[in-house]
Structure formats: C-alpha cells, structure tokens
C-alpha cells in the first residue's frame, strides 16, 4: 500500500504519523514535543477531544503528526474510538505510533494488540519511563519487540527523553526499511475457521485495501459501527465516482 513516488517528503507530501493510545499516556505531550505546538495536556483522561494535526521536520523530510483522542480499546463502539479506528484503518497513516503508559503496561497492551491486528506499520512507544523508574518497574523492550514483531522505543516525553530515537525509528519505518511482523493473536480453532471462511469474501470485496483478517474478525464480532463506516464509505465513493467518473480504488477515501 501507499507507494510513494518521490523519495524526499516535502511539505506538500509529508509522511503521516498517527499517535494512538490509552487516555493520559502522554500522547499530547509527545505531540507537543515533536511539533512545538500547544495541545492541552493534563493529568486526567479525556482532555483531548479534538483531532489535532501538527508537523515536524526530521532529516530533511516533513512529517504530519495526528494526535488522536485517547481510547482504551478500538472495539467498544464509542465515538472517539471510531475516530481513532477510522483513522488507522481508512486513512492508513505511514506509521501508527501506539503510546503506552509504562506504569500500566498490561492495560495498555490491550489496545496495542488491537492495533497490531489491524496495521503493519506500528511502533510502540513506552512513555512515562521516568514514572516507571520511580515506581521500580523494569521493562525489557528488546524482548517485547521480539515478541510483538514491531519496534519498541522507551520515552519520557515531558523531559524529551528518547525523542531522537523515536524519530529515527519512525523515519526508518516510514521509508519502509523496517521489516515488521506484527503479533496476530491466535483464537480457538473454531473461531479461526470462521475467520478464514470470511477472509476470502472480504478480500473479494475490498481487495487488499483493508486488512482482511481484521475485517473478518470485526464482522464476526458484529461490530455495527464498523459496518456503518463501510457502508458510508461505499456511498461516499459512489457519489465521487458519479461526480468525477473515475473508479480507481475504493479505499482509501480522504475523510
């Protein structure tokens, strides 16, 4: 997906980086540190309600960063989760950075695993490392990276620790130089069979524009809001084709 023609990414055609994660993990702080903007930050879940974009330059390339509202999951069908999900699945950012709270890894892993099921170009950013140290929490990021099949970077966004490395890792992935092998959960045999059965129909409907396994799983889960989004996008596309008479690809549609 997303074949980029020109190697250098100018202001006009920047790499797109999405920041996903649980509420209160420091996404906006990281966003501000990267872009120099002033998104509202504060220690309570739910501050970021408006989708914000900013940009930064790194090594001669332009990057657009999207600060998504914090969510505990992408499967509960609440409005902000839809925003985050649709961004990751339909707008297909060049890199999706999942920001995790180092002091609550288990809870945060829930969302990270969900993102790994739906996208390939994922970086895990374990933030709040300074807090974790204070609490005597140790995280083996090498082992984590190996298990989950994607790069893992530790940061402390408020102190700008680890930002350089994060930017470097993002760059490598944006250029497609990082091989990832995102961890895909194996379900019971019965469920896996159903997934395979449905996967084929998904592929025949959407081609390789959507992650077939993930869509199959969501449909089996009866994810009504995803179904609505799919319908909407087909309608949107129908209108566009009607107006412009082109039918290149169904997705992605600029939202």
């Amino acid at each position: 997906m997303n074949p980029r023609t020109n190697p250098k990414h100018s202001q006009k055609n920047p790499f797109r980086i999405a920041l996903a994660g649980n509420p209160n993990t420091g996404k906006s702080t990281l966003f501000n540190a990267l872009t120099g903007l002033r998104q509202h930050t504060g220690n309570w879940p739910g501050k970021t309600v408006i989708h914000a974009e900013g940009s930064y330059q790194y090594d001669g390339d332009a990057y657009t960063v999207i600060d998504l509202p914090g969510t505990y999951s992408l499967y509960s069908n609440s409005a902000d989760e839809e925003v985050a999900r649709d961004c990751i699945i339909f707008e297909k950012p060049d890199v999706t950075v999942v920001v995790l709270d180092a002091t609550a890894m288990e809870r945060n892993m829930n969302l990270a695993l969900q993102v790994l099921e739906m996208a390939d170009r994922v970086v895990l950013c374990i933030n709040l490392m300074d807090e974790a140290k204070k609490k005597g929490i140790y995280i083996n990021e090498k082992s984590l990276s190996k298990k989950l099949g994607v790069p893992v970077v530790k940061t402390s966004a408020r102190n700008r620790d680890g930002l350089d490395r994060l930017q470097k890792v993002i760059q490598e992935m944006a250029y497609g130089r990082t091989k990832t092998n995102p961890y895909r959960i194996r379900y019971s045999d019965e469920l896996e069979e159903k997934i395979s059965a449905l996967e084929e129909s998904v592929t025949s409907t959407f081609g390789d524009r959507l992650p077939a396994r993930w869509v199959a799983l969501r449909l089996l889960d009866g994810d009504q809001s995803l179904i609505d989004s799919l319908h909407q996008r087909i309608e949107l596309h129908r209108k566009e084709v009607h107006n412009h008479g082109v039918d290149e690809s169904l997705y992605p549609v600029e939202a």
Binding site: S73, Y75, S76, S78, A104, R107, N110
Partner: protein
Amino acid sequence: MSQSSIIPLTEGLPGQRIRIHHMTLEGTMRRRLLDLGFVPGSEVKVLQRSPLGDPVAFRVIHTTIALRKEESSQIFGEIIGGEYHESTH
C-alpha cells in the same frame, strides 16, 4: 473469609481482594469494563468509597477505576483475601 461465595462488587469492603467470576452487564458497557480489565478470572481490589458513599474506586491491573453502584452491582466475584480497613484514616 466466607467460602467461595459469589458476591457483587458492591458488597466488597475497602481492602478486600475479589476474583471476578462473571458480569451481567451487556453491550458497550460490558465491553468497556472488559477493556479496563474487569475480566473473569482477574483480581480486583476494593480501594475506597467516595466521600458520599458512591462511586467506589477499584484497583485492577495496576490502574484505579471508579464505578457507580449501578455497574459494580452487576459484576460478581469471590473474596480471595485482603484486610478490611476503614477508608477514613
């Protein structure tokens, strides 16, 4: 401690640890609670009541989540230990 009796979380006292058995909630809220870690088999600690008695704060997978009794009364589990303590001291 009472022997493997299943109680709703609302009946847990501050300080007690409870292993979740099942939930009777449905829909989005069930999903949200599962996402937060109120999963059957996992352990929850009752932290304390808010000054006016409700909601109650629970410790679940290293995070603190407050629930109103409308929700916590639909989560069931068994007490597995922990000392009861008065929340005001």
